[in-house]
């Protein structure tokens, strides 16, 4: 019984691990922090898995637990502000497909996101994941209207950071 639960959990997480990696990418800078947070989220997911009733999609549930972990648990324990943030995010992909101007803009935008609060990061993350406002509201536990308002505020906040 226990074994079965474990197997189901690991296969599901293996399949959807990208979600967790992307959450780590938004919240951490550097390989070590990434692995740290990934592990923390995995443990939280595993702890919460017995209560996952299956009335939501596994991936939706994962978004929720992963973001909650990043916002609440990870924040308290360790967070070092290091200067390597944008190199870490950006090194993984070269910008062949973009022209210089676009590349520069993307770089600035990722840097701007790093300056947002943890909750704001969660919202912009869900936006980047192309989630609908209904899905965002479900994941974050807020109303759809509230999600819309918050998202607009975050976008204009990002614009302000980019063009002070």
């Amino acid at each position: 019984m226990d074994k079965d639960l474990e197997q189901r959990f690991i296969s599901q997480l293996e399949k959807h691990q990208n979600i967790v990696h992307k959450v780590c990418r938004i919240y951490t800078s550097g390989q070590d922090e990434h692995s740290d947070l990934f592990q923390e989220i995995t443990i939280q997911l595993w702890k919460a898995f017995p209560n996952f009733r299956g009335d939501a999609k596994f991936s939706t549930w994962m978004y929720r637990v992963a973001l909650n972990t990043a916002i609440t648990l990870y924040r308290k324990s360790k967070r070092s502000v290091r200067g390597d943030s944008h190199e870490y995010v950006l090194n993984n992909l070269k910008y062949h497909e973009y022209n210089d101007e676009e590349e520069q803009q993307l770089k600035l935008m990722y840097d701007a996101i790093k300056q947002l609060s943890d909750v704001e990061k969660a919202l912009i993350f869900l936006f980047l994941e192309d989630k609908s406002y209904r899905e965002i509201s479900e994941t974050m536990g807020i109303t759809e209207v509230n999600a819309r308002v918050k998202m607009n505020r975050i976008k204009s906040k990002l614009r302000t950071i980019l063009n002070p």
Binding site: S35, T42, L93, M109
Partner: protein
Amino acid sequence: MDEFELLKKDWKKRETSLPKLSYEDIYAMILKKSSSNVKWIFIISFAEMLIGLPLLFYTPDETEHLNYLFIDILTYASYPICIYFVYRFYKNYKKISATSSVRGLIDSIIRARKTVKHYIIFNLSIMFVISVYASVATYIEESGGWTAYKQLSAPTDHLVLIALTILATLLIIGLAIGFYLLLYGFLLRRLHKNYKELKKIEV
């Protein structure tokens, strides 16, 4: 294109560069509970050392006159070794937190269990020596000292001495084993369970 749409497109593109963990990697992560067991081993041993420290310098009034120099030397000498063990426990904990591969975890668990076993064997041997020495020394002291004992003792006295020594030592060692089983046995068993699980996925 809107700057946020551009960002979204870029974000999507970056998915290809995400790390990819295997089933085993994730499994090992869940089993990382091992690291918290090893952490507790370190914490308990450290607490044990802290409690032991004042006892080391404290001699009860009743035994003051007995003045067991040998025991003093033994306990003082064993102290650095205890500190060394606590240090090893700490190293084990650090090491197990840093590994995530299945093989690495197996090795760390084996090492952690071995250190605990050595630690317990070491402590029990020290207690054994102290208890034998103290029993004999106390008995002789109570019979009026070594010279008096040598002159006056009958063969039955020797038998009583041996019996008392064995009894006292058994009692002390028994208590100590119970104490250690309680403290570390539980953690060791959990580590062993994790070890067996890991072994299964490794083959």
